[in-house]
């Protein structure tokens, strides 16, 4: 087990390198010259070359990658072409905002999904199951942005209960856990929770009804356990798989909240990516993609390790 953990952590290095390379190449494969976005359309070629040299864009690709990687490792993610200031600080605060939104929405979704899925699984084939499953399918099928806008219309425009845009009073981007801020979190996190809730419901339902139909459940009933005792066994059997699904959903939400962040003007990585794409701000695009991808890699590792730790059926050396 110990060697497995060490080995898995060491594996992170080549994976991260590959991820960085892809992030780096991504923007060079994309059509269009990033310089065009930085200079006025009628800039003389000499000036263009100067700018190009200033950003290192005149070097051969491998050299550019080396330089870029060396800086990234030291925490220097470059400067934004548009804002002209270091990306790292902005990205850090955006990541924190996205993290808050993704975790709130994700955990809400997981909670709903486990409860709905657990009940539907235990009562499989009954009307309770059909209602819950129908709700879950509807949740997965509803488009994010549409649901977000409907909620804005109902709760912000018509009822005037909750703010529609931003992450804090007066457009502040610094998060705090007080009501003034939390009320901004409610609509986007509910919008965001719907898809993971639906997916987790379906997974947990399948898992629970699968476990409930296994032979050992008959043994447990036969030795006189009450319902609560049996549910305890079901939970512990389902936990490793549910955990993997949860990890995947949270990771998806970190990168997948672009639409929701855009609808609610939430100052996170999704909005940052969105802006960077439209403004062709290559370094920002690169840095944001890289951070999200690395987060994905690390989360996968954590899920895998926890799963290994709690599931005695998995033997890894």
């Amino acid at each position: 087990m110990f060697y497995y953990v060490v080995r898995r952590i060491i594996y992170i290095i080549p994976i991260s390198l590959a991820v960085s390379l892809v992030c780096f190449l991504l923007v060079h494969i994309a059509p269009g010259d990033p310089i065009d976005a930085m200079v006025a359309p009628d800039t003389p070629p000499v000036v263009i070359e100067q700018v190009r040299a200033q950003f290192g864009l005149d070097q051969p690709l491998p050299v550019q990658f080396g330089i870029w990687l060396a800086k990234v490792v030291q925490g220097d993610l470059g400067n934004s072409l548009i804002k002209g200031r270091p990306i790292a600080a902005d990205l850090l605060s955006a990541s924190a905002n996205t993290f808050i939104l993704a975790m709130t929405g994700g955990l809400l979704g997981v909670l709903i999904g486990c409860v709905f899925g657990g009940i539907a699984g235990v009562y499989r084939g009954t009307w309770i199951d059909r209602v819950l499953l129908g709700t879950a399918v509807a949740g997965v099928s509803v488009p994010h942005y549409w649901l977000g806008m409907v909620m804005v219309i109902i709760f912000s425009v018509n009822l005037n209960l909750l703010p529609a845009m931003g992450a804090g009073p007066g457009g502040s981007t610094e998060w705090a856990w007080d009501w003034a801020h939390i009320q901004f979190l409610i609509l986007p996190s509910i919008t965001l929770c719907v898809i993971p809730a639906g997916l987790v419901t379906r997974t947990v339902r399948g898992l629970v009804s699968d476990i409930m139909s296994q032979d050992f459940i008959t043994t447990l009933r036969g030795k006189g356990l009450r319902r609560s005792g049996i549910i305890n066994h079901v939970i512990q059997n389902a936990a490793p798989t549910v955990l993997a699904v949860i990890g995947l959903q949270l990771a998806n939400l970190m990168g997948g909240s672009i639409l929701v962040e855009t609808v609610f003007a939430w100052p996170g990585t999704g909005m940052m990516l969105n802006n960077a794409i439209f403004q062709r701000d290559i370094p920002v695009l690169q840095a944001t993609t890289l951070v999200l991808a690395l987060f994905f890699v690390v989360l996968n590792l954590v899920v895998d390790l926890i799963q290994t730790a709690i599931d005695p059926r998995i033997i890894r050396r």
Binding site: Q214, D215, F216, T218, T219, L220, R221, G222, K223, G224, L225, R226, G229, H233, Q236, N237, D311, P312, R313
Partner: protein, 333 residues
């Protein structure tokens, strides 16, 4: 074994079933898995139920502790186990009878044990449930039980998971769990079928020893006549959800009366048959989704007459302690 099938005083019996029926109802069909069984078991007696696949042996066994899937199972008749009227027992009390007064071991110890709980915890859990002692004390009891069922290096095995044990050890652990609260009745559903021959014998010997030491009544389901002869006091033969014959083990083995029981004997390898030809019973058992009138075995019986199809033959008692549901057993014998 000294009771007769016709005896009726409930108090003397560990198990007493009268006209027990079990049906599985779903939207598509109703399966009449058990059709009017009468069964008596004295304290400390060992009964073997024989019968081919699908004859309702497992369903009968589960019915004795009302363990068939709730919701789709319809039971009727009279059933008393260890003095409890099982048909009237509310669920809350049923869970106190299960595992404490009646417990069950299964054919496949791999799937019958929870894969993510240690052996020690699964055994301890039963004791904690019924005797309300601490988990720590229960672990100690579990250790004693593993030693009782002769699991080598028992202490280490307490913290093992089912997949870390061999089939034979798993079945021993399963037995330890089943006897952990010293039940009066042990139900064993083909507990040796999934094991290889040498292990089968060890498990059988273990069960016989425990039965004698603890004085449990045992109902043991098997396909194997040899196993039945080894362990049983009395044998009951099932066909299509009905009992067709009950007899003491020696009576049965020397002279089975029902044509189906004779067929079973003919299809089994055993020492008395040396030099004889093995035979099979032609045809297949009836579809339990359809109503059966008359003797269910009539379609396959070499001695069939019209009376067999007309009405269900009543039990005949050719000698004390023996019962056979056949109108022509005298001719067939």
């Amino acid at each position: 074994m000294n009771e007769t099938v016709s005896q009726t005083r409930t108090g003397d019996y560990l198990v007493r079933a009268r006209d027990l029926n079990v049906a599985f109802v779903s939207r598509e069909a109703t399966v009449n898995a058990v059709n009017g069984i009468d069964l008596d078991l004295a304290f400390g007696e060992v009964l073997c139920i024989l019968g081919e696949s699908g004859s309702g042996k497992s369903v009968t066994l589960r019915a004795l502790m009302r363990l068939n899937p709730k919701g789709k199972t319809v039971m009727s008749g009279e059933l008393s186990v260890a003095g409890h009227d099982m048909m009237a027992l509310p669920d809350s009390m049923l869970t106190s009878v299960r595992g404490r007064e009646v417990s069950m071991i299964f054919q496949e110890p791999m799937t019958a044990l929870d894969p993510v709980f240690t052996i020690g915890r699964q055994i301890g859990e039963t004791i904690v449930r019924h005797e309300g002692i601490s988990r720590r004390e229960a672990e100690q009891r579990a250790l004693d039980l593993l030693e009782l069922v002769q699991i080598p290096s028992a202490k280490r095995r307490l913290s093992a998971y089912p997949h870390e044990l061999s089939g034979g050890l798993r079945q021993r652990a399963m037995i330890a769990m089943a006897i952990s609260c010293r039940p009066k009745l042990l139900l064993a559903d083909e507990p040796t079928t999934a094991l290889d021959a040498t292990v089968q014998i060890q498990i059988l010997l273990l069960l016989r020893r425990l039965q004698q030491e603890l004085g449990m009544g045992v109902i043991f389901v098997t396909h194997d006549l040899g196993v039945a002869g080894e362990i049983a006091d009395r044998i009951a033969v099932m066909y299509a959800g009905r009992m067709v014959e009950q007899a003491s083990v020696t009576d049965f083995i020397t002279r089975p009366l029902h044509p189906y029981a004779q067929g079973l004997m003919g299809a089994t390898v055993h020492s008395g048959m040396r030099g004889h030809r093995l035979t099979t019973i032609p045809g297949s058992p009836p579809d339990l989704r359809l109503p059966i009138s008359g003797c269910a075995f009539a379609a396959r019986c070499p001695h069939v007459v019209n009376a067999c199809r007309a009405a269900l033959p009543p039990f005949r008692h050719p000698e004390p302690g023996r019962a056979v549901r056949c109108v022509r057993f005298e001719e067939a014998a």
